[in-house]
Symmetry: C2
Subunit: 420 residues, 2 copies
């Protein structure tokens, strides 16, 4: 069988290390030129396949591809674009196959989270039905760490490290000023459904009394009275209180704290921002001086403080995806398997997409302390290896050096247009 082309697309929110996965895919594919001719990357993810705007990665130098290892963002563009069910929008799937056929694409690598694994799975099914077989591989990526089966998700370790380091640093700042200034500091982090990222803030505290004193998880219903009691206790005991709050923190009725009331001058409910809601609650009830930070995109793009474990795993899943594809495996995703905690050892296995698609892995209750405000030793044991090691980018004039790609487009061949 002669070499066929591969299509690689980034999907959903990008991470500090998604390009390391791209590097793993492309570098590995380049080692098998008899099987994989070129790797085409979707410009803006799957949209690039639908609109036939693809980037020919074979035009990039080996050095440029290697530089993806330390480049945040999504090098080819990512997209928040979920393909609908096959019955609802068969045209999209047929278009994908049309483009794949036109460009002799025999391998599809889809680098994303839950939704993307579902899409990759559906593409593998439709390709069979349409008698144009495509080897479909899911490649895991999500800062939310909520994919099932895999022990952890590439992208998470780095955001976890960012949050743990930032919590430790800001807490030292607050501790040293609390006598005459800020007594309560709130750090808002990502994780709308699962509290993995918020939990990572807990790594900053090693001994009793250490910050963060309170973590607000999406998994634990927010109880205002208990929360305020704990804040007061912390300020009384330690002189200050550091709170890490997940953007997904919610009341028992499921309503997000972030929706709990801030309005702009026109009376419109203000979008986003759970930190000011929590901080204002503290001010109104307890009167303490507060500050808050909202890490937002800084946390998921912070390649400068990426976890070495995470960077290595991000590369490894990209590499394994190509290897599995060449072994003829399809509709699978490489998953990370933890072999031991201390010393931390891990390996890669494959798992069927059908078992991964559309499933979310929440923070288990046993990872959260009984009072609901902290992480347990079991959680720490799980998280600690994931933030281990520093993988620094090279710098030039004080700023990280990033990959500069040519991003040359593949010549369209279908002769038809498709509007997404």
């Amino acid at each position: 069988m002669s070499a066929r082309n591969a299509f690689y697309a980034q999907s959903g929110g990008v991470t500090a290390v998604i390009n390391a996965t791209a590097c793993g895919v492309i570098e590995t594919a380049r080692k098998y030129p008899k099987k994989i001719a070129n790797v085409y990357a979707g410009s803006n993810g799957i949209i690039g396949a639908l609109t036939e705007i693809m980037i020919d990665t074979s035009k990039e130098s080996a050095a440029a591809i290697t530089a993806l290892m330390h480049t945040p963002g999504g090098a080819f563009g990512s997209a928040r674009y979920k393909l609908k069910g096959i019955d609802e929008n068969r045209a999209e799937y047929e278009r994908l196959i049309e483009v794949f056929k036109a460009h002799d694409i025999g391998y599809f690598f889809y680098n994303g989270g839950n939704d993307s694994m579902d899409t990759a799975h559906k593409v593998s099914q439709i390709s069979k039905k349409m008698r144009y077989p495509v080897t479909c591989l899911g490649v895991p990526k999500t800062v939310d760490n909520d994919l099932p089966i895999t022990d952890c998700c590439p992208g998470f370790g780095s955001v976890a490290k960012y949050v743990a380091v930032s919590t430790q640093e800001a807490a030292m700042d607050v501790a040293s000023m609390s006598e005459t200034s800020t007594k309560v500091f709130v750090l808002e982090v990502m994780g709308r459904h699962a509290g993995w990222i918020a939990a990572a803030g807990g790594l900053a505290g090693k001994e009793p009394g250490d910050a963060p004193h309170i973590i607000l998880f999406p998994e634990i219903a927010f109880k205002k009275r208990e929360f305020l009691k704990k804040v007061r206790q912390c300020v009384s005991d330690y002189g200050y209180c550091v709170i890490v709050v997940s953007e997904g923190a919610a009341f028992a009725n499921g309503k997000f704290l972030a929706e709990a009331g801030t309005r702009d001058a026109f009376g419109h409910a203000q979008l986003g921002g759970v930190a000011p809601v929590v901080a204002n609650m503290v001010r109104e009830s307890l009167g303490y001086k507060f500050h808050y930070a909202i890490a937002d995109y800084l946390q998921r793009s912070a390649r400068h403080i990426a976890s070495d474990t995470d960077v290595k795993q991000a590369y490894a899943v990209g590499k394994a995806a190509v290897q599995y594809a060449l072994q003829g495996k399809t509709a699978v995703m490489p998953v990370i398997k933890r072999l031991s905690d201390k010393p931390y050892r891990w390996g890669i296995e494959s798992a069927p997409l059908s078992r991964i698609a559309n499933k979310e892995k929440m923070l288990p209750r046993r990872y959260i302390t009984k009072d609901g405000f902290g992480i347990t030793e079991a959680c720490r044991r799980y998280l600690e290896p994931l933030i281990k090691g520093e993988n620094y980018p090279p710098y030039i004039n004080g700023l990280p050096k990033v990959a500069k790609l040519k991003n040359r487009r593949v010549k369209p061949l279908t002769g038809t247009k498709f509007v997404v």
Copy 2:
């Protein structure tokens, strides 16, 4: 003359490198045991002198003091506490001298910003009047970079590096997602009066079209129409728009944007947060999807991404302060003098506190582009050396290792209490 003791205090908002200055003071003092017996540090800054709660740094090991080089926060506690004028509250100054006398303190090192330089100056005056001579040295520290005479202020280079790196990283994230997701990203940074920190965000953009596309400085009156026009233009030209906004951004009438309208559910004006104000403006007028980050304390405590230039200068001013004191200089502050831009060379000189106290250095107009939304080449030339070099802390289990001090208290000797 036999050896006398020294008193060192940290003042105002702490920085990622204020402890490097403490290290410079203590290590240098230790080299002259015949002149300086012990360095006592104020617990919570100047309050520690007033309440006679001081930390005996001679009880700390050399290794612990060296570890201050990579420890953020204020190791002995800092305070937002401004001594009033001598006529208004002479009792405070007399108390200071009482404590200094009781502990044979002959050297006063005050590590802070404008206000603290004023205090150090006043202490030097009152000590003469009260015939208890104290050698008074100001030691510069402020992330705001607004002290006069000195070319830059220790603490600023690191926050500048943090802001430049974070802007570059987040912009890459936004750029790669803008086709289907966030089009406008706003990063709020510190600097209530001067736009130095906001300007540092501009370092992330090297070529035309690079982010940040808009910087909102406190020095430039905010004009909503022009701002929105520029946002729309950027989204049209580049597909996205990155905005760095100073917390001090204000309208022509002096009113802060942060006060411009967000109210909580009870109708109270909400404290802080210029980023959501700017972001909501964009949403209401242009309808773009937005995200915003508020770096808050993360930026000034981010020792993990400290500028090597800054760390070295922070140490150098501490060292020079002790050397000047031993040369008999009083009522002076070590200032950083720039000798050349490329290659960057700098030295330390002394300047009288009377010329520094209570003066603020704004971002010069020639550092801001004509349209008021960017930085000029002159600004870049000034800023670039200050963020150069990475000075990484050591890590243990994925988190920065920090100094663990014993913080043993000096036995009180005055026999009197003083309530601040």
